[in-house]
């Protein structure tokens, strides 16, 4: 790190999006400071540095803020060139961006909804999430490598990382099954290999703490959602 470089992450240990940034910084060996946000009481620093969404993560590099996890990952990759996260070839880069976008738009979005939906609606969301995972399973199988990034983690692996722990926690308390391990041998192996990476082991939150956090979140959300039919 160059003299005078200041890298701060406004994040949350419970947030899969914040974890993406944490992981990228660790993979690149970038010294940084993590400021834990309490989303029920957002800091002035967060509100000032992400006025558009008021969400974490926000990376602040030499006082300049960047928001949105994928935008931050690309910024990190372009600023610190060691251990590249994106391929060099423009078409391969486009594919990496495509899958990163797919993970958020199709998989993460559907899984997120299962936290607060119930009954028939929830079943539909589970189905969408499973279908998205099937597509990823197929893609990784064709690739035939350990990770989407090849033999080492790339940006797509970082974007998908949350399924290694957050997905199981969400499935458990939402009472759904998105991923039946028997049907996803390639993804299951990917998860095992992902969890072995030192930077991942160092940055993931503890499962029991996550369970507690989400149980509170779901109860809060269900209590504030209008009953169906209203």
């Amino acid at each position: 790190m160059a003299a005078g470089e200041e890298v701060k992450l406004l994040g949350g240990w419970f947030s899969p999006f914040s974890h993406r940034v944490e992981l990228a910084l660790k993979l690149k060996g970038i010294p940084h400071q993590v400021l834990q946000e309490d989303l029920s009481n957002k800091s002035p620093l967060l509100l000032k540095n992400n006025p558009v969404y008021e969400k974490i993560p926000v990376l602040i590099h030499n006082q300049k803020p960047i928001s949105e996890s994928f935008v931050i990952l690309e910024y990190i990759d372009e600023t610190w060139k060691r251990n590249p996260l994106l391929p060099q070839d423009p078409h391969d880069k486009a594919l990496a961006r495509f899958w990163a976008s797919f993970i958020d738009d199709k998989l993460a979005e559907a899984v997120r909804r299962t936290i607060t939906t119930q009954g028939e609606q929830q079943q539909q969301d589970v189905k969408k999430a499973t279908e998205a995972l099937e597509i990823l399973e197929g893609e990784l199988k064709i690739k035939g490598k350990r990770f989407f990034g090849g033999e080492t983690l790339g940006i797509v692996d970082i974007m998908l990382g949350w399924i290694s722990i957050w997905l199981g926690v969400i499935e458990e308390f939402a009472g759904v099954q998105v991923i039946d391990p028997e049907n996803f041998p390639v993804i299951e192996k990917w998860k095992r290999d992902f969890l072995q990476v030192p930077a991942v082991k160092e940055s993931l939150p503890q499962r029991d703490l996550l369970v507690g956090y989400f149980e509170n979140f779901r109860r809060f959300k269900l209590a504030s959602v209008p009953a169906p039919g209203n």
Binding site: H91, A94, S101
Partner: protein
Amino acid sequence: MAEEVILLDFWSSPFGMRVRIALAEKGVKYEYREEDLRNKSPLLLQMNPVHKKIPVLIHNGKPICESLIAVQYVDEVWKDKSPLLPSDPYLRAQARFWADFIDKKIYDIGRKIWTTKGDEQEAAKKEFIEALKLLEGELGNKPYFGGESMGYVDVALIPFYSWFYAYETCGNFSIEPECPVLIAWAKRCLQKESVSKSLPDPQKVYEFVLVLKKKFGIE
């Protein structure tokens, strides 16, 4: 090497327009293929099996899907002319942030304006103007979001201008009094051939919206 560039597109798609503009800015010769979205071509289904959507850019047989990804691809491959993304990583991040904001907000909220009525429509109109005002703030005094010349965010946003007339007529409101700076920016962009040749006539877009409304039984 003979370059083969094909764009699978649909005339009124703002996402397709983005790629058209990027290709025009770079002076790339390409074949435009109009898709019938009710009867998608085998090529489209083969090149975008995951989403089955346009636009799809096909460069020497290899597909690039998702409009902003295609625009970045065009910018990286034909990098010697009219750069769309700045070279500074922080400015690039800002450009990507705002393009992502446009993706999250403009299309979906705009769609609500012509597919809903009453309170829901009023809420959509309000949200739409708020989003445009945020973008105006980001534009500031600059002639373009990209600074002195058109850039990534300009390309991401300007196609929606061709839909403004449809939104305004369906929603019975006017955007210019609320966002004069943005409208001035849009007209400035339209002075460029790459934009004017890529955007359809707003009247035609409105007529298309009326056909869609009838088809979906709206109002």
